[in-house]
Each structure stands twice: as C-alpha cells, then as structure tokens.
Subunit: 144 residues, 2 copies
C-alpha cells in the first residue's frame, strides 16, 4: 500500500491532482489508514498511470472517464474505445494544421521586423491588419 506521496512520485502526478481525481470520481475513494491517510493499492496505481498517459496524449478527463469504464468491462466490443481514440486523433490533426499556419505567420512577422521603432514594427503592423497575413489562420479557437 502506497501513501499519496509515494503514489504521486511514482506516477509523476502531483498530490493535489490525485485528490482532485478522486473528488471528481476518476479514481475511486482510497482506503484510509487508522490515521485517516489515503492508502493506494497496485490497482489504483495502474489506474492512475492509465489516466496520466491518456492526459499526456491529450485526452480530456471526460474521454478518459469513458475509456476507463470501457477498460473496466473487457467483454464489451471495442468500437467505442476506437471511436474515442479516432476523435482525439482528428482533434490533434486539426490543431496541428492550425498551429502550422500560426507558425508561418509568426515567422514572417518576426523575420520582417527590421525597423527599430514601434512605429515601423512589423509585428505590431501585422497584428493590426490581418490582410497582411498569407494564411487563413484565425477561424476557431486559438488555444489549439
């Protein structure tokens, strides 16, 4: 049985994050020691590794919740898991495309900045006028 600190250091997940996952029901409520401290089994460790890995691959907590419940029922067909992974792949691909366009624009901005006063700074100028851009970045959410 691991304490929360050991579990955290062995998975690379911060302690408050582990408690948060328990709070939102992603991890089951941990057993407690006589002194009320959380104790984790090997199973809990595995589950947290699964969550961490899926987060690293960019899955949302909602998607992970679904994937976990699928992995808890190994006799179910796996089409659902496949669909979740495919959706995530599509999301990643669209972010990639968008970021590539952003990169192009930013490079152009940075390279062209030759003036030494703000008044003829290319960065500021481009930001003021999208028509100076060559790609159609913009559109959806900028956090992609």
């Amino acid at each position: 049985m691991l304490t929360i600190g050991k579990l955290g250091s062995s998975t690379g997940v911060k302690i408050p994050t582990i408690r948060y996952y328990e709070q939102i029901g992603l991890l089951p409520e941990a057993e407690r020691s006589p002194g009320n401290q959380r104790l984790y089994t090997h199973k809990a460790h595995e589950r947290l590794v699964f969550i961490r890995h899926a987060r690293d691959l960019g899955f949302s907590l909602e998607a992970i919740r679904d994937l976990l419940s699928l992995s808890d029922n190994p006799d179910q067909p796996c089409a659902a898991a496949d669909a979740i992974a495919k959706a995530q792949l599509a999301e990643v691909e669209s972010r990639l495309a968008r970021l590539a366009a952003l990169k192009t624009e930013l490079e152009r901005m940075v390279v062209q900045c030759a003036g030494d006063r703000i008044s003829d700074c290319r960065v500021i100028e481009v930001l003021s006028d999208h028509s100076l851009c060559i790609t159609d970045h913009a559109i959806e959410d900028a956090n992609s």
Copy 2:
C-alpha cells in the same frame, strides 16, 4: 459610433467577450449613450481587431496587453514587441513538435486496434502501458 452589437458583428467578437475585455482593462471604458449603452469609436474598433487577431495567433491576453501598450507608444524601440512575438513563435513550435508526436502515437493506436473486444483492444492496452509507445510524448503540459 457603434453599439456593442455592431462592434461585435463587425469584428467577430462576442458581446460578452467585449465587455469582458473592458472589465479586465484590455479595452478602455466605452463612452455611454444617454441611456447608458456603450458606444464605440473607430479607434476602439481598431483596438479590438488587433486583440482579436493576436488571440487568433495564440497570444495570451497578458502578451496582448504588453503589445497594446507598445503600440500605444510608437516612439519606443521595438525590441520588446519582437521578443514577445519570438516567445510566441517558440511556444508554437514546441506545441507543434509535441502534437506531431501525439499524432504518431494516436495513429498507431487506432490502426493497430484489430480485436473486437475491449480485452484485446490496442487503444486500452497502449494507454495502460507507455512502453508500448515509440515516441517520447508525455513530459510537459498536455494541452499543447
């Protein structure tokens, strides 16, 4: 003078977002009509276009705040603006690299999923075991 609705539709920024930008001081407080409705000048329109464009390019509101104050002082040297843009470019490049690795992993997961039961689903299996991955995705923040 534009109402907030016109300003929103002409810039593609939602009305609550405009009010939010005013609230956090990114836009100056708008003049008001006798009936207390916000009225915007051409200058405010330009400023909002600038903000929107920078957001589309992935700049944080903090970075935009700095860029705006630079663009308000056109006699300053432009090294600072350049630095902000370069930092953003570096950020975008690192996200790109990370997303490319994620894409590789997700593609592998999806393609290899041949079984039709969860019990031999590659997606679930890979998520349980990072050593089945070929790239070193993981590391930093997963939202990249």
